[in-house]
Symmetry: C2
Subunit: 450 residues, 2 copies
């Protein structure tokens, strides 16, 4: 046993809840600082002290913002996973390998787990929850989505009497910052991304955020909880924000919309005896300017839920960052410590009502915004309207503006459709591609309202 | 024992959780309907059936929207309070007497309690929570504030690692409906109230809502939780909405504000060794048009919290109504049923960190909006500015407009101040009262931003 080197602070008596922390980065540093500096307030919530017993880091020599007591830093995960005195393993290191294996080892050793790892929860969460249940330990993951915004507990418990009809969420702060800058400054995508990178809101390789991969992990977690089913992340339809242009923001604004990267899920009631289907998708979306979600700007996140009883509920806050995420991690630690006090685990069972089939993207119906460059000549609009009509798509509005900077002989056409099936839209776009008068389909965006 | 008359439905086996419902009005009817019609989904959340065993009503002969099984209606509360087979008493009858006594009797008999009764929780909640703890039973009251919006659980658990700095809430749907109509239609107070009454949003005697009494009960509950203290409802400073006029909405709009009835609480850090003070007040408030709370319209409610870790969090939804409130009541029932499954109670202790003194209203500092009718003659503005200056109040902006309908020789003056102490403002208003040139102080409103 290595615990003799652990500090014997006043919090170190036999009655404390002992934490092993995996990772000491942005979030881990925040969690360590809270446990070390806010011990009295946290102990008041739990009725006994929470002790930071061990911290596993990759590099022991690295300089860090947070100073932890002598002797608790280690680079060997066995010092946490094999220490029988550690009650709760808090995982804030990220990644799926070796993290998943380490957490399985912790669970098998009878340790409770708190994780902020959305990739892991989205990918292996169902398996980890089953494993935890079979070993009589808890696993909590409030920090995996939406930073400090209460979401997991809300879906698991507060809305439990509801059948959730839909959720629409802005759950990636990086892209929301970029889109907010594009909307407010008239900036194009590339300079807005560069600014976000300069400010540290976007990574040097921004793919995970701007291609909406991050958002699909978070949506997989939320939709699984909301619908009491398992939504595999790879099955979520996804489009990133890289094709958006200043022209799209200008046109959307003129039409009364804002453009946001929206992660959404919706239940479809089907015939008697048939299970409900769900659609799950993440893509740039035109939102009417007057809906609350349209006012969520900068790095803020929000989730708009419709339950059949509560109606509309919106939860808003900072979706990332050291302090907000640490707030959620420590709330989970407190919750598990309360279970430890009561001598219980798995108080709120992991519930799957059944497998709900996903609605194929081709069957999804939305309104569309289509921005086209067409030949500036008579009869073109008629051809386009005809192509839409051939595929069952009805035009709600059409704007052709004289645009400075338009290529010679070209005109920009912005069309908003009534509800149309994705399959029909794709067929219409194929028809445009064969049409000499359509020079370019600049963008096709879906229009939604929560 | 009277339980032989209870129905022996399929849900009536020994393993069910048995509910006694006090009240079958708007919320009670919604709860009964959910328990009767959504039994399968609720049982899936709990792992066993929830049985509606008994319903106490005042008048057995009254026609009702919801039909309950034969034999479970009774007008004798003893049929619930003395029935040893009832696990959870759900109180949706309202009022403090005899409700409080009945719940104390239930708690002493070892029954858990779910209540939607804000008046009772605000007035006797601390006592009931202590009594419940001493008898090893749970008391849950999510439905007492904000209908189906998750609030109680959020303050008790999700934000537990935070020191809450402030909360700003729109928590009375009736007044928010009236103020929304006044803002959108340019209506005056009396017709907007009459419309709310015609639609059933306001009662025939609207005092409890329009004088902000209802909001003080809700704020007492939220602020007590947020600051881990006890905020007595009578100590909350309160002003109603009856003095607001169409002219105030017009002037506020011109200045870039909306007017809302805001219930707010704020922590004040004081000197070393001194406990923090808190201010708690409910009054019509000018909110900058671009804050999220300003976009909360109609019967919707929202709470904007600032925590020192999470930063800004907003929770939004329907604050009242049968279905949203029933959603919260049933979530509480499910939560207690999960505790029953685990054989525990009082898992989350009722925590009071200490008594935080209230900041006297005279010491409160805000910006102010002051609308005056003054004599339309030279030197008046100088006199007013002098009176403000004499009491340490600095003017940020001043608008004098030619108004149609102004009394002969009078002019309307709208002044916005910088931060000023309430005591200073009251002294300035006293000075105006002695000033012949000030014909009328039409309204004085505080300006806040969450």
């Amino acid at each position: 046993m290595t615990i003799t080197s652990a500090p014997r602070s006043s919090a170190g008596h036999a009655g404390s809840v002992r934490i092993g922390l995996l990772g000491l980065g942005t979030v881990g540093g925040g969690v360590a600082r809270l446990l070390l500096e806010r011990g009295e307030a946290i102990a008041r919530e739990v009725g006994r002290p929470i002790e930071l017993r061990r911290v596993v880091v990759r590099d022991l020599t690295k300089a860090r913002d947070v100073s932890v007591p002598d002797g608790i830093l280690t680079d060997d995960p066995a010092n946490i996973l094999d220490d029988p005195e550690i009650d709760i393993v808090v995982e804030v290191m990220g990644g799926i390998h070796p993290t998943g294996d380490w957490l399985r080892q912790a669970i098998r050793a009878g340790k409770h787990v708190v994780t902020a790892n959305k990739d892991l929860v989205a990918t292996e969460g169902a398996e980890l929850l089953r494993l935890a249940a079979s070993h009589g330990v808890d696993i909590a993951y409030e920090a995996s989505v939406g930073g400090g915004i209460p979401l997991i507990g809300v879906f698991r418990q507060d809305l439990a009497a509801n059948e959730v009809q839909s959720l629409h969420a802005i759950i990636n702060g990086t892209t929301n910052y970029i889109l907010t800058r594009m909307a407010q400054d008239g900036a194009d995508y590339a300079p807005a991304l560069a600014e976000a990178q300069a400010l540290g809101y976007a990574e040097s390789d921004p793919t995970n955020d701007v291609e909406a991969i991050d958002a699909t992990y978070k949506l997989a977690i939320l939709a699984s909880l909301a619908f009491r089913t398992h939504v595999p992340q790879p099955e979520i339809y996804r489009e990133g924000i890289t094709r958006l242009r200043a022209d799209d923001f200008r046109a959307a604004h003129d039409l009364g919309y804002v453009i946001k990267l929206v992660a959404m899920a919706r239940r479809h009631h089907r015939g008697l005896g048939e299970p409900d289907a769900i659609e799950v998708r993440v893509h740039p979306t035109l939102l009417p300017r007057d809906v609350l979600l349209a006012g969520v700007n900068g790095v803020y996140n929000a989730v708009h839920v419709k339950g059949d009883l509560v109606g509309d509920v919106l939860l808003y806050g900072r979706g990332a960052g050291s302090a907000p995420t640490s707030s959620a991690v420590v709330a989970d630690i407190i919750d598990i410590a309360l279970n430890l006090n009561a001598g219980i685990a798995n108080r709120v069972p992991f519930k799957v009502a059944g497998d709900l089939p996903r609605l194929p993207i081709a069957e999804v119906e939305t309104r569309y915004y289509v921005r086209l460059w067409v030949a500036d000549q008579p009869g073109v609009l008629a051809q386009i309207a005809q192509a839409f009509g051939d595929h069952g798509i009805s035009i709600a509005s059409c704007i052709q503006k004289e645009t400075s900077g338009a290529p010679e002989g070209s005109a920009e056409l912005v069309i908003v459709t009534h509800l149309a099936r994705e399959a029909g839209m794709r067929a219409a776009l194929d028809a445009f591609a064969r049409m000499g008068a359509v020079r370019e389909v600049a963008n096709v965006l879906r229009i939604e309202a929560p």
